[in-house]
């Protein structure tokens, strides 16, 4: 469960200070699927970074379960990212020199999982996204949709409590978009994840239980 209280995030741009999030107070229960929409530069990605323990707020608190992310150092934040949060990016962000199987295994490396266990769990994750036969392929040998499936397998192989997806279908055609969203939705239901999707696409946002719009750093619920 996320509890954000008066979260403000400011960036210094030269002599100017830009407020990306402005006193955001928000609660997201476990297992909820949330879509975050809004214009470019409105603060979507910054909010996702706060939720994903990638950054700390300038003011306010971000509570994930029993951990106050706003007060943790880089080391503990890294551990939370390693164990509890899965990321899916718009550009897939796969390591180009590693195979699909090895890319999935990178998510288990910080957890100290043994090599045989790591291999079998990564293979099972790839199987769950329909790429059981593609484990030995390099990212460049896969289509965009397949690469995003590998990225989803990488995010889910460690069985996180939260899955954060930043424009997961932004680089995909409509048919592939629907396939990926079907996959994400299916996994969300099957695993009981908290799924938070940042998207420009209203068709994607309509699939969520709850929709938020963020504009000029201020979050608003969509009925």
């Amino acid at each position: 469960m996320y509890e954000l209280t008066n979260v403000t995030k400011k960036y210094d741009q030269g002599k100017r200070s830009v407020t990306a999030l402005n006193k955001v107070t928000l609660s997201i229960p476990d297992g909820q699927m949330v879509a975050i929409q809004g214009p470019t530069g409105g603060g979507k990605s910054t909010l996702l970074q706060m939720l994903g323990a990638l950054d700390r707020p300038s003011e306010g608190t971000v509570q994930l379960g029993s951990s106050d992310l706003s007060k943790l150092g880089q080391g503990p934040l890294g551990e939370i990212r390693a164990r509890e949060v899965g990321f899916v990016f718009q550009g897939f962000n796969l390591i180009p020199t590693l195979t699909a199987q090895e890319n999935v295994e990178t998510a288990l490396a910080p957890l100290g999982v043994s090599t045989p266990d790591r291999t079998s769990r990564a293979a099972a994750a790839l199987e769950s996204v329909g790429l059981g036969e593609r484990g030995s392929h390099l990212p460049a040998e896969l289509s965009g949709g397949q690469q995003q499936r590998v990225a989803i397998a990488r995010a889910l192989v460690k069985e996180p409590a939260v899955l954060l997806a930043d424009e997961p279908t932004g680089n995909l055609d409509e048919q592939t978009r629907d396939e990926i969203m079907d996959l994400l939705e299916g996994l969300w239901r099957a695993k009981g994840l908290t799924l938070i999707v940042v998207t420009h696409d209203s068709a994607v946002a309509r699939r969520a239980q709850r929709r938020l719009v963020i504009r000029n750093g201020v979050v608003r619920e969509v009925a």
Binding site: Q49, A82, R83, E102, T106
Partner: protein, 493 residues
Amino acid sequence: MFVTYLRRELAGRRKQTAIVAIGMALAIALVIIVNAVSSGVQLAQSTVLASVYGVGTDITVSQTPAAPTEGEAGTGGPQNFDFGADAGATTDGTTTVSQSRLSVDRGTTAFDAIALDTASGIDNVSAAAATLSLSNTTFDGALPERSTTDTGTAPTGDDAAVGGTPPSGGPDGAGGSSFSVDSFTVLGLDPADDAVGPLSAVSLTDGRSLESADAGTNVAVLDASYATTAELVVGDTVAIAGTDFTVVGLVTASSADAATASNVYIPLDVAQALSGLTDQVTDIYVQAASSTDIEQIQADVEGALPDATVQTQSDLASSVSGSLSSASDLVKNLGLWLSLIVLAAAFLIAILFTISGVTRRTREFGTLKAIGWSNGRIVRQVAGESLVQGLIGGVVGIAVGLAGILVINLVAPTLTAGAATADPASALGGPGGGFGQATVEAATSDIVLQVPVTLSVILIAVGLAVLGGLLAGAIGGWRASRLSPSEALRSIA
């Protein structure tokens, strides 16, 4: 994961890996070759020095001749061979005269042999030996009988009209004269002591060396090259200062290419008696118990013998001249700087490529941090990649370096080397007298340069490869660790 990722990165970025490895390989190969050639040149210098000063000699002690004070004649000057009115033997109108002289070389000064006891008594001296370096000069002349050349009375009468009696006698029968001068070096040494000093570095080719029982006897050991030119063999006699010595052995330098320190070796006491230098020596050879004691012994000898010139092997190495000296200078100056510059360039290339790689992989490292990789894990990964690149360069560099050494050894360049005498006064032209030319070079040799491959050279190469890799990896890793995951991902966006 570490090994898999490292292997994939190096294989996937072959061009970068190859450039870094080649740069490192060239630098390491150059360092190996320069280092090995330097060792080869040092070995060659040691060979030259050993042939002159003996194996195991760490320090030599000699004495600089004192400059004559104003109004006082020098102790040297031209040698005179004086013959009295009745000198020589006359046969068939020709008078033959001969005189032989054994004296200290020009520029060399004899000093009291008690200095040997002083040097031997210094702490950490394991052995010491004294020698008397001499030059034997023989004057032979044949001239017309004096009575036939006497023209004390003026020609008269018919004699004056025809120009007098034509000259006769002499070696050509027409009143002419003939003179010859022969000179060779003689070294007096203690026959009982062969552990240190010039004879410690020689090999016996015929007969025997000097022995303790030879003290006081007229026996000589000859340098084999000199014996060949003088047409002498074991059992023959050689005249020194008018005294016949039996040749008991022939010696040659341990290195086939070098000459020994002197033409003739005789017992020290005999050399002292014949030259009139009783209890005098010209050089003392000192062996230190350990190489770490050399500086202390040098200082102690200088303190105990204030008039002495004390030189260590490193001082003596500077006296080696010829193309060997040029090679030594080339290695020390150009080779050293060239290898340092190439090494610095290789390190710089490795560092710049690593930093460039980290910058190019910002998204990669940002993603890895986002999924929980710690800074330490990412630094290890970057450093590991650089280290392996450095090691690949090291292995290739060692192979290239060894190949270069093999080529040098196959070509086997010949260097000429001259070892100046330990006494610097000889080079300056001291006031001492001598009939022959000043003995500036005791031995001139042709040395075939052989470049050794030592474990230390290989270890240095591996060390440099590791150092270069770690340096590049540490700087690249530091850059990667400073990447904030959110900023890294935002910069991509």
